[in-house]
Symmetry: C2
Subunit: 299 residues, 2 copies
Amino acid sequence: MSDFDWNLLRSFVAVAEAGSLSAAARKIGTSQPTIGRHVSELERDLGVTLFRRGLGGYELTDTGATLLTHALNVREGVDRFSLQAAGAEEGLSGTVRISASEVMATLVLPQMLARFSVEEPGIEIELVGTNALDNLLRRDADIAIRMVTPSQEELVARKIADIPLAMCASESYLARHGTPADMFDLMNHVMIGQDREDVMIKGFNALGAKVDRHAFRFRTDSQVIMWHAVLAGMGIGLAQLPLIDREPSLRSFLPELPLPVLPMWLTMHKDVRTSPRIRRTADFLYAALSDFARSAEAT
Amino acid sequence: MSDFDWNLLRSFVAVAEAGSLSAAARKIGTSQPTIGRHVSELERDLGVTLFRRGLGGYELTDTGATLLTHALNVREGVDRFSLQAAGAEEGLSGTVRISASEVMATLVLPQMLARFSVEEPGIEIELVGTNALDNLLRRDADIAIRMVTPSQEELVARKIADIPLAMCASESYLARHGTPADMFDLMNHVMIGQDREDVMIKGFNALGAKVDRHAFRFRTDSQVIMWHAVLAGMGIGLAQLPLIDREPSLRSFLPELPLPVLPMWLTMHKDVRTSPRIRRTADFLYAALSDFARSAEAT
DNA sequence: GTTTTACTATTCATAATTGAATAGGGCATG
DNA sequence: CATGCCCTATTCAATTATGAATAGTAAAAC
C-alpha cells in the first residue's frame, strides 16, 4: 500500500539530484539532519539501499537509480498539481512570483511594481533577478520577463518589444575624454565590458573591430555593475536605449552602429493564465514594459 | 514551487474518494482531526476551496474535482514507486501480503502457510480473505489467489487448475435422509444455498430445475458458513471437490451433474516478481495449491 | 605538511504534529 | 418526539519531527 510518508520521496529526489545531503537540504530549504533521516527512513521502509554513502556525498545505487525515475514522475505530478492549483486560485489576493533578467529586475521592475502594489494592495510580489532560464513548469516563477525567445512548450508567451541597445557614457566622462567619432575610436577610450562572458567581444569582432578582452579596461560579468560603472563616469558601456534615455546624466552615441536588439518576452504557463491575480499582474507588466520600450522611440 | 507538504495530497485524495473526513481517516489509518487539518492547510496553501463542507461529509467543488485528477496521477506515481521498490527488495525476509477468496483463505491456505512459515521463518505473512477483487497495482496485496480469470494488465498470472465442484452432504445427514438419486430428487432435501446472491439459483435453472430461493431451506451468502453447515450435517451443499474429499465425514454424489468448474489463478504484479521473498512465496503456493487440486483427481 | 573546505552522523532542546476526548449539528429510525 | 448514528470542529496533553551545534573524516588547496 502507498501509505508511507510521501515527503520522503521529495527528499529522495532532492538528494539524488544534489548529490549530497547538505546540498539537498539547501535546495529544499531544510536541514541536513532532516534530509538524512528521511533517506534512512525511506530505505528502512522499503527495505532497499538507495545510496552508497560515499566520500563527500551520497551516490545512487542501481536500484536507487531505477526508483529515481519513478520518484521523478511523482514530482512532475506534484508540479502539475500545484500549477493547476495556482491557475484555479480565486480572487485577486495572494503571491505572484516574477522572474526577470538581472538588469530588468534591478533597474526597471522595482519602480513599476511599486506603482502596482498601490493599485493592488492585496497582491504580494516576489521578484527574483537571474539571467538563468527558469523552469516555469516547476513554478520557479509565475511570470518570467526574458530577453530571449521562449522555447518551452506549454507556455503562453507575449512579445513586448525589441529593445534597442546603444553605446553610452556619462556627460562627465565625455567632457573629460570627448565623444567617440566612430567604432574604431572606441578603442582609445575606457571601455566597460565582460569578464568571463564573451558575447560582447564576439559582437565587436563581428562588426569588424579586432578586439580581445583586454580592449575592455573595466570588466565585470554583472550588467548591473556595468551600468553603475557607466553612471559613475568610469567609461563607455553598452546598455538598453530606454534605460539610457531615462537617465539625464547619460548620453548615447554612434546610433549608426548595427547593434543587435533584445527581444523582450513576457511568458507564463498556460495553466496559470486563468488566475485573476496572475493575469492582472501580467497585464500590468505588459503595459508598463511596453511603455518603457516605447519611451526610447519617442526621443 | 512544489515545496508544500506532499502528504497533504494523500489526504486530499483520501477525502475526495471517501466522501468524509472520518471515512478517509479510517481508510488511511490516521485520525479525523489530522485529515481535516491537512485539507484546510492545503486549501490555505493553494488559495483554493477544494470541498464544500456539507451535511454529513465533504463534497468536491468544481476546482477540487479538476485538481483531483492531478492528485490521482500523483498517487498512481507513488503506487508505481512503491511497487517497484517492493520488487527491488533484497533478501528473503519481510512481509508478503496474500489475498484470496473467503473459502481458500479460511479453509485451505492457513495449513499451507503454517508449513511455509516453518520453511521460511524470515517471511511474515498477511492473509486477507475477501471475494472482492483487489487492486494489485495499488498493492492491496502482493499475491492474489482468485477463482476467476484475471483481467488487469501488467499482471503475471499462472493458472493453477480448474477446481471441480460437487454436491455433498455429511454421512450423518445421508443416513437420515438418504442420498439423492438425481437432480430433481434434490428438491426433497434440505438444500443449503445463497441468500442475496443468485448464481446458484441461476445455475440450477440453467440445468433444467425450476427453483427459486425458497428451494434452499438454509441460506447464507458466506461460503464458509455454508461449508460449516454441511459439515454439521444440516443438509446438502455445493463445494469444491478437493475440499470434500479431504473430509472423511462428507460424501459427494451426483458426479454426472454438469456443474461449472472454478479456474484457480495465482496472480502478482510483474514488478514485484523480481523480489526473492515474494517469488519464493508464490512458488510455494503454486506447488501447494497444485497438489491440493490434484488430490481430487486421485480419488 | 598544514590548513581549509565539504561532507556525514549524533546529540539535545525546541517546535510542530498528532490523536483521544468532547461538544454540537443534522438526519434517519423506532 | 426521543434515541442513535454519522458527521465536523475544537481543545489539550503527549508524542514526534525538526534544526542548531558539534564531533569527526576525507579530500583538496596552499
